[in-house]
């Protein structure tokens, strides 16, 4: 028999799936800010935040919402090399596939973009942009200078990448949208809404305020960590439900299980 916790566990499998998108106060603000920036005559927009703060899903959502209104493209994974990247750009701009054994002439591409000015406005969203090298970033900037292509660059916020951001965008970025970890309130809403979306009312109600506080303490409000934590909690619950039901109460999640999950994920140590 399928344990009730199995479905709950699946809710928190980490993925960038728009169906799983949870509208929160903070993410709504970031979305509106980003949408507003797109409508401004900006060349580059930087979306900034620590890993797991919801940058990818935000870009996905923006793409999904605007794809029928604007020429908007989402590059979810960075190109492995410059050649591949410009192949992709060429395809976006010309709507043609580059013939085999040919390479993009960058100067010609910039000129092509300049000629497009006023005729077309293309938005390209680059996720995980910290993986692009400085040279490539410079070329991206030159393309954006044509004012026919607008780039939304999503970057991880780490100490090193802060430096990258500073070096390459300090004078070129016109707008920065920063995402933060969730507050306790937002994280509570996030977990609740996720479970309720899958009709798991009982399980949602079994997570008490104290549990949310503890989960938030361990995950620091990071959505990715939260997903991992919830997944592990429900996996442990599932084990007890199937093998040792005396050790679990269905009306609440014991603190013991949350701490066990935290131990498992390395948030705490013996």
């Amino acid at each position: 028999m399928k344990s009730r916790y199995e479905s709950a566990k699946e809710v928190f499998v980490d993925s960038v799936d728009l169906d799983d998108y949870i509208e929160l106060e903070s993410s709504l603000t970031a979305y509106q800010q980003l949408e507003h920036s797109i409508n401004k005559p900006l060349k580059m927009i930087l979306l900034f935040g620590r890993p797991g703060t919801g940058k990818s899903i935000l870009l996905n959502r923006l793409h999904d919402r605007l794809k029928y209104q604007k020429e908007i493209y989402y590059f979810d994974t960075p190109a492995i090399n410059e050649k591949e990247f410009f192949h992709k750009i060429f395809k976006v701009l010309t709507k043609k596939t580059l013939p085999q054994n040919t390479e993009v002439n960058f100067s010609a591409l910039v000129n092509y973009c300049k000629n497009m000015r006023g005729k077309r406005e293309i938005i390209i969203m680059l996720d995980e942009a910290q993986m692009y090298g400085p040279e490539m970033m410079e070329k991206i900037r030159l393309l954006s200078d044509s004012r026919a292509v607008k780039f939304i660059v999503s970057l991880h916020k780490t100490e090193d990448e802060d430096l990258v951001a500073k070096e390459h965008f300090q004078s070129r970025i016109w707008e920065v949208v920063e995402l933060h970890n969730a507050s306790l309130k937002d994280q509570t809403t996030y977990i609740h809404k996720k479970l309720l979306k899958k009709n798991l009312f009982e399980i949602a109600n079994s997570i008490k305020e104290k549990n949310f506080k503890l989960i938030h303490k361990f995950t620091k409000g990071n959505y990715r960590e939260c997903n991992k934590m919830m997944f592990t909690i429900f996996e442990i619950c599932e084990y007890y439900d199937k093998n040792e039901p005396a050790k679990i109460r269905y009306d609440r999640i014991p603190k013991r299980i949350i701490e066990m999950a935290a131990l498992k994920l390395g948030y705490i140590h013996v």
Partner: protein
Amino acid sequence: MYNIKALEEEWKRYRRKKRIPIIVGVTAIVLATGGIVFFMQNKSYILKEHASPKPETAKSDIDIYIDRGIADIAEKSNEALIDTPIEIANVEDNEEAEKDTSGGKKKLHIEVIDVSKKKSSFKEIEKRFRMGHDIDDSLFLAKSYYQRKNYKKAEYWALQTNKVNENIEESWLIFAKAKAKQGHKNEAIRILNAYIKRTNSIEAKVLLDKIKKGKI
């Protein structure tokens, strides 16, 4: 699926480790509190032992004389039909009280008195009586004040003794003698008569005779 048993063991170790600071903290607080209490007790004992005697102030006299007990006895002694200046308690209580007084246990305050009969010692004993209502204390004060010819206070403390236990003969006798000494001879006679009527005490009869003859 994880190895839940191993995870459980790990969690138990984690919980034990988490509790150590709490246990240490609580133990430290208990020990510190105990230490402070012990120190304070010792300190107050030392201070008591070495306290310099303070002269009795006029205020303390006033305190004593505005006591309700005096007002009671004044009222009661003016009522001719009332035999005693003190309310009579039930027999059981009296018996118990008698047992208490005839128990023969030597109380600590007696040592204090023997060492010094300074005013400060009296004050200490008065204070102690107010806290513990020990008739040994009040009777001692009545006798001591009588000896020092402070008849008002002797009368007061005899009355206090009587309030706690009305069967202490000495308190009746001191009360009557103190009254007589203050010139209230008729009152003293009336009080002694009431007591003799109740107890047929020979000592009371002897004292009554002395008062009547003006020997006291």
